[in-house]
């Protein structure tokens, strides 16, 4: 997959013997030394010395169309592979364009390293052309950041940045490098530049006594639940969580970012919790007498109002970040440490538990919830997004990597695409960043070229980063794109319908003909207006050699159910009305109008 122009000309001896290199060469040599094979970036004045040296190193550079895309691609790359993603931009606007992507990675604890060029150290602080204080701007949205103005500091800083990005609770790290630091030369000594061992957070605490306390709570629990979060993926604790669930026969509820961390088809898996979680999951949480939270942070989107959250439950919180303990929900036992290590210590001690009555009770709740299942609604000839998700899941055997954007389609995907495998759902959870899906999918495909990768985006979010279609075309990236097109900013419209008296202010959305837009980029596409067309289009996309876009014209005023309104308790869900949804004209596009 390597660009022919990027043939490795760097002498591997530079890693064995200290060698004089320019800062630009040092940057790439350090990245390559850290195992980086792909970077996402956009050149510009202050980063030009680095770009000039790129061809000497075995690194593939994907030219993005906007730096936000570069950060999201690095993010998707990291989520799909578990490796650190890298984004590169120039100073000033190039750097500020990364900001949304960095904040997104911070909220979801994704390890990325962003490299930005900076004006020369002699003019720092003078409002030089394209100067911006990017370390100041990104201070609260990075795990750490650096301003490097000396060539000899580049290698140790890059190496430390990688260590920080992926250690402990992962997160984004930004390294801002002045132009002169890139241009000057210094001795490159990769081994001497190795960082000190990572300093674990001093407040980690998962000692034998705490573990015993947790085991005691489990021994007496009658209605236990495991809450499975993103930390399971970050900590590579998928097998441990599965063992925990199976040995104690404890049902598992997943957060949005935890989907895939426990197989969706596993008999103990209940599905997603939270604002748009399955009704039986939320009810089970409210009835539970023991929550075992694994690598999740009791985000407001999963708890509903805190005052009435899981009122009967003791809580065990296994979490690597001590600042998350008792932040939103007071817990009874905190096991603060790496989830995998903590569970490894717990597994031999697990008590025998009989949960059969509890599981039967949850099954009974599931039966009741089936009335909301959109698949039981009559086929009125219209296409529902939930049907599309179901058909996509069916066609791909649940094996595809799906990058979703933010909004209604994201929730439908979470509900109807059954993720059996870790790292197959890539979505913006904490930040809720529209425009994430397309670039994140590009990053995922570059990281895992052997995987089938799909973008699932709404018509609104897709247009925020649709310029990356050019990136797909230029880099010949085979991904499939599902635009869930309802002609509205759907989730906002749903809130307007519910809470703002159907005042659809500024949510109807005129879009281009997405198939023609794809065609303009040399990307194939199809429009689907019925379920039959949808199934055929999904198959056509899968068979097509290059990238393929499907414009799914779905029911316009459909809503995501169940829904826990803001300020309500988790079990106070709005359910799908049993009457048939309104018939609406299909989506109008610019070309139809």
């Amino acid at each position: 997959m390597k660009n022919s122009g990027n043939a490795n000309q760097a002498d591997p001896a530079i890693y064995r013997h200290p060698t004089s290199l320019t800062g630009a060469e040092t940057l790439w040599a350090s990245l390559a030394g850290e195992g980086v094979r792909d970077v996402f970036g956009y050149p510009g004045g202050a980063i030009l010395p680095a770009y000039d040296a790129l061809r000497k190193f075995p690194i593939r550079h994907i030219l993005v169309r906007h730096e936000q895309g570069a950060a999201h691609m690095a993010d998707g790359y990291a989520r799909a592979s578990g490796r650190v993603g890298v984004a590169i931009a120039t100073s000033g606007p190039g750097a500020t364009n990364l900001v949304t992507g960095i904040a997104n990675a911070m909220m979801d604890s994704v390890p990325i390293v962003c490299i930005t060029g900076q004006v020369g150290s002699k003019v720092l602080g003078t409002d030089a052309f394209q100067e911006v204080d990017i370390t100041g701007i990104t201070l609260p949205i990075t795990k750490h950041n650096y301003l490097v103005s000396r060539t000899e500091d580049i290698a140790p800083t890059i190496r430390e940045a990688f260590l920080i990005a992926k250690s402990g609770r992962p997160g984004p790290v930004l390294v801002d490098i002045t132009k002169d630091a890139q241009q000057n030369s210094a001795i490159f000594d990769f081994n001497a530049a190795a960082p000190e061992a990572y300093r674990p957070h001093p407040m980690l605490r998962a000692d034998a006594a705490s573990i015993r306390e947790a085991i005691e709570l489990m021994r007496t629990a009658k209605r236990p639940l495991i809450l499975a979060g993103h930390g399971i993926l970050q900590s590579n604790a998928v097998a441990q969580v599965r063992a925990l669930a199976e040995r104690t026969q404890t049902p598992v509820a997943c957060t949005l970012l935890g989907l895939g961390a426990f197989p969706a088809s596993h008999p103990l898996n209940l599905g997603m919790m939270g604002m748009h979680g399955e009704s039986w999951v939320n009810q089970a949480i409210q009835q539970s007498d023991l929550l075992i939270a694994c690598g999740m942070r009791f985000d407001d989107r999963v708890t509903g109002t805190l005052a009435s959250y899981a009122p009967h439950a003791k809580k065990i919180h296994i979490e690597i970040d001590p600042s998350e303990i008792n932040k939103n929900v007071a817990v009874d036992v905190a096991l603060i440490g790496d989830l995998k290590d903590v569970l490894d210590a717990m597994l031999p001690e697990l008590p025998a538990m009989d949960t059969s009555a509890w599981r039967e009770a949850i099954d009974a709740m599931k039966g009741d919830a089936a009335v909301r299942d959109i698949q039981n609604l009559p086929d009125d000839g219209h296409l529902y997004a939930a049907h599309v998700m179901h058909d996509l899941w069916h066609a791909t055997g649940g094996n595809a990597v799906i990058a979703t954007d933010v909004g209604q389609h994201q929730m439908w995907e979470a509900q109807y695409y059954k993720h059996d495998h870790p790292r197959t759902l890539i979505t913006s959870g904490g930040a809720g960043t529209m425009g994430f899906a397309l670039p994140a999918a590009i990053g995922a495909k570059i990281a895992c070229p052997e995987k089938e990768v799909w973008v699932v985006a709404g018509d609104g979010g897709f247009q925020m980063t649709a310029s990356e279609l050019s990136t797909i075309a230029q880099e010949k990236i085979k991904i499939n794109i599902a635009v869930i097109n309802n002609g509205y900013l759907g989730m906002v419209r749903q809130w307007q319908e519910r809470f703002y008296d159907k005042n659809y202010e500024c949510t109807p959305l005129l879009s281009p003909d997405f198939v023609k837009l794809a065609d303009a980029h040399g990307i194939a596409g199809a429009t689907a207006r019925t379920r039959g067309e949808a199934v055929a289009a999904i198959e056509a996309a899968r068979q097509h050699e290059g990238a393929f876009l499907i414009d799914f014209r779905v029911e316009q005023e459909d809503s995501v159910y169940p829904m826990v309104p803001a300020g309500a308790a988790l079990h106070e869900m709005i359910r799908r009305p049993q009457s048939k949804p309104r018939n609406n004209p299909l989506v109008e596009t610019a070309s139809d109008a």
Partner: protein, 189 residues
Amino acid sequence: MLHTFVALVENKPGVLTRVASLFRRLNINITSLTVGESERADVSRMTIVAEAAPDRAHRMMASLYKLENVLEVDDVGRHSAVVRELAMVKVAAGPQTRAHLFELAKVFHARIVDLAPESLMLEITGGASKIEGLVQVLVESNYKILEMARTGRMAMRRGQHTSRVLEALREAPSSQSVLAGKPKQATAG
């Protein structure tokens, strides 16, 4: 309640901003923040006093530790500690009123560090209540305070040692070498 933390941080540019920014992000007001040199040239010492609900101490401490430049945090407010503050107070005073001020200074263990024809400067060290006591007496005695500068609190735990100090004591052959540092550099900015 008032929380008092001592944080040992790397002596590097921008560290103060990171700490201050953290409190801003947590929406917690910093009552006082002092930064200066410590016994190690590469480590600065901060005393942070912040007003927040009692149950927020854990989060503040855990969040401080998440900053890569923070080496050690101690919630000294929860322990027996010496807490001191230095204040300089410039008071309008002519030859007639000086004598009374000299007396006040003596009672409060303050020092007269500057004397001008129409003013004098008091320097006082102590706990916040002592300094506030002096100020109150000055005001109630109708003295005009021309200027006042307070350093904010500095704190050090009594007897009990932090893990880092214990480590240093273990490693050091004698107490003398514990305190032997390199030449001092500029403090964190």
